[in-house]
């Protein structure tokens, strides 16, 4: 794995009035890494991620994303990142091909590149029979895999995934993670938030947020050793018990 | 029953938390009343006009003076030639032009006859006709002042009494209309949107699985809007009575009961709309076209129904607002009792039942 740092966060903070959602977090992510961002609901992971994507302005702190300064070059950063939100990513009333065409075009791919990408994705995801169907008609698992693929259609430096595997069966989740591994091997850094603790095992490194702060950051094995646990589930429970916030 | 109330409470919270929507729902009747009460009127006054005076003598000046002073006209310009007439109309600057030919005074004095010309902008025929009538009346007055007229023999005098509304206030006829419109909007439109929103968001299934029967869920959604509607009725009545001086001559209880009935009818209509679509956008646009438009046009408060071509008159009969408008007018302005509105009330009840029936049928088929 390359030691090049694609994300460097220093003291990132986000306040909403008196409420501090994200409290001075600092961390680094290397190129090609699969970085898991864990935490209970309300711990601040989504807020933190939104800051890194440029969707939310930090109250204080600094960050370098894909080599660019978060404050100064927010718009430029967007050319180099991909994003898949919790709620959704694809247009339900457009076909698979049309969605790929749109996002490809937005990110500046040429017509030929778009065509190639489309063919590749359709084959790779076994969507040949559905390429002209509306996304609305696809089952949830396929939608998610497609959404991820579209999020990296422009081979960005980093792709941010916000709880991408909600609501699908374990088999589909594994298939989804195969795609993530693929991307990581191609050099795309994957920044993923999740509250499925078994997925934490798939990451290179994991950070756990509690009450807006990073309480732990290490490889899954490292964390298990430090917290004397057999699974990430246990690690998480031990840390989460200290939490004041959350559901 | 307890579950039902729990649902109703939840719906209340939804509405209460959405301050923007609430503000508009409560503010609409107030705005409408103010606009209708103070801004809109069909009365023609202060119409801009121009004078083309070729005479410029004592009589023409007198006539011009008389017209300028009238509240119907606002004489804004004096022209010097016919060429200026068309451009002035095209710019939309005046509605009427009075042309006084040469030798006006002389003609009057010696020939006992004179000519005047009124050129009206006929774009709005109502205004044009009214203005020419007013202008003619003013000229007649002017004419009568010139010569002392004796009392004519064989006279028929007419004594006119305006019933229910001696001062001919416009408010008397539109307040009931505004009530119908607002109730339609609050009850029907809002309810249909609330239900469809639930459907669209997919949370409908969740609710349907709950212990409360589906129909109960739907009614629970409607209850808060019903209450809002009644609040609006109260607002409208209060404003009408205290700000616009519109009386409530009949029984207030009867009026409120009929209001409640119409609210339920509107609700049923809203339910029907929500049962035929799953998209909020569509529900809204149907509400607009299927509720707002017919209510405004066919209730009879903007335009008299008897003026419309026959097919439209027939159509107006299926618009609940038409019957409600009649009922409110009869009770509120005419001060009459139930025996004068029982037929219309029955029709409303009938409509409500049919609408409910259709909605239930639709819901059942959709959900199965």
């Amino acid at each position: 794995m390359n030691k090049e740092k694609v994300i460097v966060a220093e003291g990132l903070t986000k306040r909403f009035g008196d409420f501090v959602a994200v409290d001075h977090i600092s961390f680094e992510v290397s190129k090609g890494e699969i970085f898991g961002f864990l935490g209970a609901n309300g711990a601040g992971k989504t807020t933190a991620m939104r800051m890194l994507c440029g969707l939310s302005t930090p109250s204080t702190g600094k960050a370098i994303v894909a080599g660019l300064d978060l404050f100064k070059d927010a718009e430029k950063i967007k050319k180099n990142i991909g994003y898949m939100s919790q709620k959704f990513s694809l247009y339900e009333d457009l076909t698979i091909k049309e969605n790929i065409q749109f996002y490809g075009g937005i990110y500046g791919l040429t017509k030929k590149q778009i065509l190639d990408k489309t063919n590749y994705l359709v084959e790779h995801l076994h969507l040949q029979d559905h390429q002209n169907s509306l996304v609305r008609s696809l089952p949830l698992g396929w939608k998610q895999k497609l959404a991820f693929s579209v999020a990296i259609v422009h081979e960005p430096a980093i792709v941010f995934l916000d709880e991408p595997t909600g609501g699908v069966d374990p088999v589909t989740r594994r298939e989804f993670w195969e795609l993530i591994y693929d991307a990581s091997e191609r050099g795309i850094t994957v920044f993923v938030t999740t509250h499925y603790m078994d997925e934490a095992e798939y990451c290179n490194r994991v950070s756990i947020m509690v009450d807006g702060r990073i309480e732990a950051l290490d490889t899954p094995n490292g964390l298990k050793k430090t917290y004397n646990s057999d699974s990430m589930d246990e690690v998480f429970l031990k840390l989460a018990r200290k939490a004041v916030r959350g559901e | 029953m307890k579950q039902f109330f729990a649902f109703v409470k939840k719906e209340f919270f939804h509405i209460w938390r959405d301050k923007r929507t609430l503000f508009i729902l409560l503010g609409m009747p107030i705005t409408q009343i103010i606009i209708f009460g103070f801004a809109l009127t069909n009365e023609v006054k202060n119409s801009k006009m121009a004078i083309l005076d070729f005479s410029k003598d004592a009589s023409s000046i007198q006539l011009i003076q008389k017209i300028s002073v009238s509240k119907y006209f606002d004489a804004t310009s004096v022209l010097s030639s016919y060429k200026e007439v068309e451009p002035l109309f095209k710019k939309g600057k005046v509605k009427m032009i009075l042309v006084i030919p040469q030798q006006f005074a002389i003609d009057l004095q010696h020939g006992n006859k004179a000519q005047l010309q009124l050129i009206c902008d006929g774009s709005d025929p109502n205004v044009a006709n009214t203005l020419s009538k007013y202008a003619t009346a003013i000229v007649m007055d002017f004419q009568n002042a010139l010569v002392k007229q004796q009392k004519l023999p064989y006279r028929i005098e007419t004594d006119i009494r305006m019933l229910y509304n001696p001062e001919l206030k416009g408010a008397y006829s539109f307040v009931p209309g505004v009530m119908a419109l607002i109730l339609m909007l609050t009850s029907a439109m809002m309810t249909s949107i609330a239900i469809v929103k639930e459907k669209e968001m997919g949370t409908m299934e969740i609710i349907l699985v709950s212990p409360l029967r589906p129909f109960g869920v739907v009614i629970a959604k409607a209850v808060p809007y019903m209450l809002l509607s009644m609040v609006n009725v109260a607002t409208i009545l209060l404003l009408s009575v205290f700000v616009l001086d519109v009386p409530i001559r009949g029984s207030l209880i009867l009026l409120l009961s009929e209001g409640l009935l119409f609210t339920i009818t509107s609700l049923a209509l809203g339910l029907l709309i929500s049962s035929i679509t799953n998209s909020q956008q569509v529900a809204m646009l149907i509400s607009l076209m299927g509720l707002f438009l017919p209510t405004t046009v066919f209730s009879g408060y903007m335009f008299p129904i008897e003026n419309m071509p026959l097919p439209l008159q027939v159509m107006s009969n299926i618009v609940p607002a038409k019957w409600f408008y009649f009922i409110v007018k009869t009770i509120m302005i005419k001060g009459l009792g139930f025996q004068y509105v029982w037929k219309e009330t029955l029709i409303l009840i009938g409509m409500t039942v049919v609408l409910f029936g259709l909605s239930i049928k639709n819901f059942k088929t959709r959900l199965s």
Binding site: F88, F102, G105 | P125, A128, G170, S173
Partner: protein, 372 residues
């Protein structure tokens, strides 16, 4: 610019794939344009008249006959008691009651004067006023008829007679429809433009696709143009449909140059689409967007001179009209179609509407932030 191209491609695809939108764009104008002008008519006719005749003389028969044949009145009740006549007003069967006292004919001929009593249902003040005026007019005419029968020519001491000739320009058949159709068209365009834009954007907010857009390199102005352009095009399509209905349905031949209307409409659309855009920045849900749009548009349209003349409004309201974009559009369409007004005639209107377009869109753009 290719970003914009892809955006527009997506928008148009989505719009045409939505069956409800298409239906609305074609059905709504047609419905509104057909129903409203047909229904809108302030002229008073078919007034229901109830007569209580205590005289039953030749004169009363003649008078009632004259009233019936005027075309304005429908005789619904001819009775001998006042009570019956009043009941017919209460039950809304009659609008006006005419009471003819006993010895009517006798009094005219021998006493030189007779009275009639008229009671009018004045709940609708305007209708009552006009109805009473018409009735009086007919009675006056009848009065003159009687008078001339009894008195030789030259009748009375020479009266001064001013003859007034009235000519009405621009509306040959004095049809209220001519006045209403252009205005309804303008209103229609306004409603569609604002609603569709506001709803469309807020829907994206609700579903979450806006967030997706905010993460991409799509710039603010791309996004906004991407929303405005499709609806602008649609607006002009609706305008065209409306004109076709106007020309072939109502046989209204525009006097002026329709290109002027298109020109103004293009500018106008920018401003009301901007309004829709602005509303979408203040609404979190489609419900809110719709309500806010409806609330604002209702006020603008009512005060815009659609149903009631702006000139009749109190001075302070008329001043407010300067801030009402709808009134300008209604004015322009009416003026160009009915009077043939030209570009120089609507100079002011053009400047104002450009002002609105800039103001509303700037405000909306200011509000719309990709980052919160």
């Amino acid at each position: 610019m290719s970003v914009l191209k892809y955006l527009l491609q997506k928008e148009f695809r989505q719009i045409f794939r939505d069956p409800s939108i298409l239906r609305i764009i074609f059905v709504m104008p047609a419905l509104q344009l057909i129903v409203i002008p047909m229904a809108a008519d302030y002229e008073v006719k078919n007034i229901n008249l109830s007569v209580a005749d205590h005289d039953h003389s030749v004169y009363t028969q003649q008078m009632v006959q004259k009233i019936k044949s005027s075309g304005y009145f429908k005789l619904v009740n001819y009775s001998s008691t006042y009570q019956e006549a009043v009941t017919s007003i209460e039950s809304d069967k009659a609008d006006i009651v005419l009471e003819i006292p006993a010895k009517f004919e006798q009094n005219i001929v021998h006493e030189d004067q007779a009275s009639l009593f008229i009671a009018v249902n004045a709940v609708n003040g305007m209708k009552a006023n006009l109805g009473a005026a018409y009735l009086q007019n007919i009675i006056q005419n009848y009065n003159n008829q009687i008078r001339t029968k009894w008195v030789q020519f030259p009748p009375i001491p020479p009266q001064t007679n001013i003859n007034i000739s009235v000519s009405n320009w621009f509306n040959p058949m004095m049809s209220y429809k001519y006045f209403m159709v252009p205005a309804v068209l303008a209103t229609l365009l306004t409603m569609l433009g604002t609603f569709l834009t506001a709803l469309n954007i807020v829907r994206e907010k609700e579903i979450g696709t806006i967030e997706q857009i905010n993460v991409t390199p799509i710039k603010k102005y791309h996004f906004i143009l991407g929303k405005l352009i499709p609806f602008w095009v649609l607006g002009l399509v609706v305008l065209t449909i409306g004109f076709l209905i106007m020309r072939f349905g109502y046989q209204i031949h525009p006097v002026g140059n329709m290109l002027i209307v298109y020109f103004f409409a293009s500018l106008y659309l920018i401003s009301i689409l901007g309004l829709g855009l602005l509303i979408s920045t203040y609404a979190d849900t489609q419900q809110q967007a719709m309500l806010i749009s409806f609330f604002l548009l209702m006020i603008f349209i009512m005060l815009g001179g659609l149903f009631t003349p702006i000139d009749s409004m109190p001075a302070w309201v008329q001043k407010l009209t300067w801030l009402n974009p709808v009134s300008y559009f209604i004015d322009v369409v009416r003026m160009v179609v009915l009077k043939g007004s030209g570009l120089s005639d609507i100079k002011n209107h053009i400047f104002v509407i450009i002002g609105f377009a800039i103001f509303l869109n700037s405000w909306a753009i200011w509000n719309y932030k990709k980052t919160s």
